[in-house]
């Protein structure tokens, strides 16, 4: 480094050497200017030495400053905030942090701050901001300036992003003196704001249906409690079949059912009504300024929309109860309770009807799958009733057999149609899935309160010798109706086309098969009677 600086003074050093050589000459020592010349050379030599050192010091100080500047720039550029300054001419300074360019999408040096903070064309706002900024610069004390800064806008929206604006009044040393500048700190708070909005939304909404939740309705109570909201009607609704859907088709389908109800109710109420997911399968509708008639009209619309909704296997069904608050003497909570009581009472009255409605929907769903057609069910019903006659069963057992003939394979609505209708043989995994239809059917019958039928459905693939599924029950541990049905079901399966069998057996061949598996798969007594019935039928024919 020293050598580099010395190169700058080659000519000066050469001149110094020549001057020294002149001083050494004896002839010049008599010259009257000699002593003055000698002194001048001394000063020149010192000046040269100092200049050389000064340049080196200055360069090293420059490196120091440059490093400090880079350090500060790195800090500012990586602070995640925009920093810029502008003076009273409102022109942005040369130095600003990288975030400013990201926020404004361009270089901003020498731009007018008003152009950046005010949308083009908004002349009134531009004038107002210019006046407010002018007042800051005119303020005489820092305290006064800080007060004035509070009048400036604290947020701005730019291309869908939210920017927080903070201002500082700064006295900036610019060499020739102190200048007043305003430092503007810009923080992109879009994500923070979106998160806050999301949190606010989630705290007041049910995430599954998008409807309001209880917290929201609680927050609205003071408003709803006002006289001008009366008559205030409440509709309380309880979804039918949610447990069945969850048990049979899984919770995803159960969630879908609730979402469908949310759609149905949303499409049936007035714009001013509040719909709330009140609990697991309960919905609440708050109808401000709606009398009992208006509330009942909404209920009718909900029932109608349920019927018309293009439902899957489980049709939409809901029990509704309404109550209306006509006087502030009755609390809102009491009105809620009345609506709830009515809803439960209605649910009790409609229990059987709603079960039949849901079961009917399941039957239709099974028929639509193409696997279990009505002819098969009719044949089975006919066969089991004949067996019932010969076995001299009670009326209750006869009804159970008839129900079992209709619903023994209802669990297949929970099995993929592609597996059920697959031609040819199934893989071990597919067989395992198909076998689950007994358990699904069992849960379905249980959820609608048909417990004996449920046990029979669960057992209709058990074998007399204990080699069946799902529990490996043996002999008379298998419910009677299941033992009867399994014989008729096997005969019908063998004698009709199935996805896995394109050439059905003749009735006599099928009877031989029954005979063959008598005592292993089937109860011997029932097979014997079944064969007798069929042989006598064929003689009669």
């Amino acid at each position: 480094m020293e050598g580099q600086q010395d190169n700058l003074f080659v000519a000066e050093k050469k001149a110094l050497e020549e001057a020294r050589a002149r001083l050494a000459r004896e002839a010049d020592k008599e010259n009257p200017l000699y002593s003055g010349f000698q002194e001048l050379i001394g000063h020149y030599e010192r000046l040269l030495r100092q200049s050389s050192k000064l340049l080196r010091i200055s360069d090293s100080q420059y490196r120091l400053l440059h490093k400090a500047r880079n350090d500060v720039r790195n800090l500012l550029d990586n602070a995640g905030q925009g920093f810029l300054t502008f003076g009273k001419d409102l022109v942005i300074g040369r130095e600003y942090s990288a975030e400013c360019e990201r926020i404004f999408g361009d270089r901003i040096s020498k731009r007018d701050i008003l152009d950046l903070l005010v949308a083009s064309g908004d002349k009134q706002r531009r004038r107002s901001l210019a006046r407010d900024l002018e007042m800051v610069f005119l303020a005489e004390t820092q305290e006064e300036k800080q007060k004035r800064l509070m009048y400036l806008p604290s947020t701005m929206e730019l291309d869908g992003r939210y920017i927080r604006l903070e201002y500082r009044s700064i006295e900036q040393n610019v060499g020739e003196g102190i200048w007043d500048v305003i430092m503007l700190v810009l923080t992109d708070v879009t994500e923070k704001r979106q998160t806050e909005e999301r949190i606010r939304y989630l705290s007041y909404h049910d995430s599954l249906t998008g409807l309001y939740n209880r917290t929201y309705i609680d927050s609205q109570m003071p408003y709803l409690d006002q006289e001008n909201q009366m008559p205030l009607s409440i509709i309380m609704g309880d979804v039918n079949g949610l447990k069945l859907t969850n048990d049979v088709f899984g919770h995803q389908e159960g969630d879908c059912l609730l979402q469908n109800f949310a759609k149905v109710i949303s499409g049936s109420v007035r714009e001013t009504d509040l719909i709330v997911r009140w609990g697991g399968d309960e919905f609440l509708v708050v109808l401000p300024r709606a009398d009992q008639r208006a509330a009942e009209a909404v209920c009718k619309r909900i029932y109608k929309a349920c019927l018309e909704f293009p439902a899957d296997a489980i049709p939409l069904s809901i029990a509704l109860g309404t109550a209306t608050r006509l006087s502030s003497e009755e609390s809102i909570q009491a009105v809620f309770k009345r609506a709830e009581d009515k809803m439960y009472s209605k649910k009790l009255i409609e229990k059987q009807a709603s079960r039949r409605y849901i079961v009917g929907g399941l039957e239709r769903a099974l028929a639509d799958r193409g696997d279990e057609n009505q002819d098969h069910i009719d044949r089975l019903r006919s066969m089991v009733l004949k067996l019932a006659d010969r076995l001299e069963v009670s009326e209750e057992e006869r009804q159970e057999l008839e129900m079992l003939a209709s619903f023994h394979d209802i669990g297949k609505v929970g099995i993929s149609a592609s597996i059920l209708n697959k031609p040819g043989s199934l893989s071990p995994e597919e067989i395992e899935i198909v076998h689950r239809h007994s358990e699904i059917g069992y849960r379905m019958a249980q959820s609608i309160g048909e417990f004996r039928l449920a046990n029979a459905i669960l057992a209709h693939h058990e074998h007399w010798n204990g080699a069946g599924y799902p529990r490996g029950l043996k002999g008379e541990h298998i419910p009677f109706s299941a033992r009867v049905l399994t014989v008729a079901d096997a005969f019908d399966a063998m004698t009709h086309i199935r996805p896995y069998r394109s050439c059905p057996l003749s009735p006599s061949a099928a009877l031989r098969e029954l005979q063959r598996y008598k005592g292993t798969q089937f109860e011997p007594r029932i097979v014997d009677i079944f064969i007798e019935i069929n042989q006598s039928d064929s003689v009669e024919r």
């Binding site: 480094m1 030495r49 100092q50 050192k53 000064l54 080196r56 010091i57 200055s58 090293s60 100080q61 490196r63 120091l64 400053l65 490093k67 040393n173 060499g175």
Partner: protein
């Protein structure tokens, strides 16, 4: 002789020359617009002080940044001290810099070139 104390500003260093203690301090950054205007009273004080100096005195400099014209004045100040030392006065310099700051260290090395005055460069631990 009286102590010389000048408070620091944004552009000039803190000055504390204490003849009784035998310590003369300059601490801060040297960015005066007119370096000579800042240094003149310092030169006057030092020259007066050196005339009557009996005891050993240390000049302690802690410089964060120094502009070019101030560097020239600092060289003159060091030359004055060097000349006094060569004339038998017991003066020395301790130059402090932030440990690890190479530029400040090199700057100190430049100032101590071509002089006989004891000149110690001391790193300040962070």
């Amino acid at each position: 002789m009286d102590r010389l104390i000048i408070e620091a500003t944004k552009l000039t260093p803190y000055v504390e020359f204490d003849p009784q203690l035998g310590i003369c301090k300059l601490v801060g950054q040297f960015l005066p617009e007119n370096a000579m205007h800042f240094f003149e009273p310092l030169f006057a004080w030092v020259q007066q002080f050196l005339r009557d100096l009996q005891k050993e005195t240390i000049f302690q400099f802690t410089i964060q940044y120094i502009n070019t014209s101030s560097s020239k004045c600092m060289m003159d100040l060091i030359d004055i001290l060097d000349e006094a030392y060569c004339n038998g006065q017991k003066v020395s310099v301790q130059w402090y810099y932030d440990e690890g700051d190479e530029s400040l260290f090199k700057c100190a090395e430049e100032f101590c070139q071509d002089i006989k005055l004891p000149f110690e460069i001391i790193a300040l631990k962070r």
